[in-house]
Amino acid sequence: MPEPIRRLESKTVVLPIDNIDTDQIIPARFLTVTTRQGLGPRLFADWRYDAEGRPRPEFALNRPQAAGAQVLVAGHNFGCGSSREHAPWALADAGFKAVVATSFADIFRGNALKNGLLPVQVDQKTHGKLLAAPGALVVIDVEAQTIALGSHSAPFPLAPFARYCLLQGVDELQFLLSQEPAIAAYEARHAGEV
């Protein structure tokens, strides 16, 4: 069950690339795991490490100032490609609590929310300010649905139920299972259809 998340204050790490796909976030060769934990060290593996497994010093996440950052700022269509939930698992395991982009792929957005990882979709202007200030401190308020950078504040969209789940740490499966009578009634109505 995800922990409730109301407010987040962190410096950013910036990856100004569009269409960052889930194969970059977590390459397929690491998907043979059977648990959710422990993928953090594999996050962005092919960008972070060279062929011998040594960290590439020029990669944003490897710079000393990235240590402890909980907010990743990236380009548009973040999380496109494969539906692997290993992507938000890896981001969360590496300490990230939010990703900021101008747009997110649908499946990634849903997967992130189910793991308490905030997809923060911002306008171009706000995005430009964040890109121009890597490592800047941002404040994300889930209740108010705003992200603030210094005196600049911008809203971000969040479906009411997603917001409620984040704020309360709601377990969606339990919520679904509580609908048992409606599910049984649906099945009875459709019995015999193929």
């Binding site: 269409n19 939930e85 649908d106």
Partner: protein, 468 residues
């Protein structure tokens, strides 16, 4: 008073609502068919165990192994002789989970095994009017049959296993009208690559896309699957084609298709599914198929694709495109035709069906693969493999110097040991040219089976129209 005209998507959505959305909560939608594979399911079954849940509808759940299994014929070493210890453990988990929760499983060696998006249509499991989900983004493939089909994450796999339902925000509707006719020598793969190049990888985000128009109607069912398969590469939540006579003909007599009176009843229902005259979509796009040429990708996103005889575009100040060209080792203005390659991969849920293999075989017939080249032909399913062998296609591939493999996802995502070496170039019939997708440092040109076959027999990127 006549009812409001509805789109195909709206009819399917409305018919599967268990509980409508409210101002505070999303809709609860019923899932007719849940497809499961080894890679995205173990953590979902763990949730069921932790909660003491059963699988609510095991008979609506089917499992196969495709992503991480070897495609080299086992040669007596057993089906898993070439699997890593971790992959073997994952495969073992799926076997155990299916046994414990009563789910039918098609493992390697089984007559029904294959890539999940190849076997469900060919078995008649995927049918018009259904909601179909799988922990795999290319579930959009099944929309070709007039189903609402989409990929889900592992948390949602657990939701469907336990409740047969999903909590969903309703996507918007997008009509993609494809007019004209695809020219000779141009395939459904070229069509969808052309669409993505034109409309962009984010054009479908938040939308369920319906492909319609003269060019779509003229496509075979397998070609429609290729188009819907890659709907997710334009960001669409689902890709769909309204069912028609081609759909019904395709489904008639398949193992899980309804029979007798049940078939007649289903057919009557299916005929009501196409979007009504005057139905309104949230957005409409149009595209002319008549001007298409064979397409090939040049970058690291499926939208970075050009007609095969065009030059690599100038990225200007676009940092992502500059990065892509740097990764691919290409320079602006360069032509791809004639460029030497190292590997050809014919397979994947996009292009591994019998019609894809027949098309590739036409190009291979009587020609030889240069000895410097590695060529993999990986059928999408055991049934496709059998059919191809019955037609002698395997002989054509092998005599040309290609490897004829067992069914699986193989080098599409390089989980199973079939992979590119760093720096290698491949022409692939799969769906993603992402950095490292086919192996760390590997570089992918996406294309049709005809273009891939033309590259295989010439060792270079070649216009397939010269060889067909």
């Amino acid at each position: 008073m006549s009812a409001k005209p509805l789109t195909l998507f709206e009819k399917l959505w409305d018919a599967h609502i268990v509980k409508p959305a409210t101002a505070e909560t999303p809709a609860t939608l019923y899932v007719d068919l849940h497809l499961v594979h080894e890679v995205t399911s173990p953590q979902a079954f763990s949730v069921l165990r932790e909660r003491g849940c059963k699988v609510r509808r095991p008979e609506r759940t089917k499992a196969t192994m495709d992503h991480a299994i070897p495609t080299l014929p086992s040669n007596g070493g057993g089906p898993f002789a070439a699997v890593t210890a971790e992959a073997l453990a994952q495969i073992g988990e799926l076997e155990r989970n299916c046994r414990e929760f009563g789910i039918e499983l098609y493992p390697p060696g089984h007559e029904r095994q294959g890539i999940v998006h190849v076997i469900a249509p060919e078995l008649g499991l995927s049918r018009p009017g259904m909601t179909i989900v799988c922990g795999d983004s290319h579930t959009s493939t099944h929309g070709a049959l007039g189903a609402l089909a989409f990929g889900i994450g592992t948390s949602q796999v657990a939701h469907v296993l336990a409740s047969q339902c999903l909590l969903l925000e309703r996507p918007k509707t997008l009509a993609i009208d494809v007019g004209g006719r695809v020219p000779a020598g141009v395939t459904a793969k070229d069509l969808v690559l052309g669409l993505i190049a034109r409309l962009g990888t984010g054009c479908g985000t938040g939308h369920a896309a319906e492909f319609r128009g003269e060019a779509i109607r003229a496509l075979s069912m397998e070609e429609r699957m290729t188009v819907c398969n890659m709907a997710v590469e334009m960001g669409a939540r689902a890709g769909m084609v309204a069912p028609d006579e081609a759909t019904y003909q395709y489904l008639a007599g398949r193992p899980f298709s309804p029979k007798g009176a049940a078939w007649d009843a289903a057919l009557a229902r299916w005929r009501k599914l196409p979007s009504d005259e005057g139905a309104v979509f949230d957005r409409e796009e149009s595209f002319d198929a008549g001007s298409l040429a064979p397409m090939i990708s040049y970058g690291t996103s499926p939208g970075m694709a050009i007609p095969i005889d065009h030059a690599v575009p100038d990225p200007g100040s676009d940092a992502s495109l500059q990065k892509a060209l740097g990764y691919m080792g290409l320079v602006p203005g360069e032509r791809l035709l004639g460029r030497a390659i190292d590997v050809v991969f014919i397979g994947s849920c996009t292009n591994s069906r019998i019609s894809d293999l027949r098309l590739a075989a036409r190009v291979f017939a009587g020609r030889r693969v240069p000895s410097s080249l590695k060529v993999l032909v990986v059928p999408g399913s055991r049934q496709v493999k059998r059919q191809a062998e019955a037609e002698g296609l395997d002989r054509i591939f092998r005599e040309a110097g290609a490897e004829w493999r067992d069914p699986g996802c193989s080098m599409c995502l390089a989980m199973n040991g079939d992979r590119l070496e760093p720096g290698q170039y491949a022409v692939a019939t799969s769906n993603r040219n992402f950095e490292g997708r086919q192996g760390s440092g590997g570089r992918t040109f996406l294309a049709s089976p005809a273009t891939a076959a033309a590259a295989a027999v010439s060792g270079r990127i070649t216009d397939p129209r010269e060889l067909l």
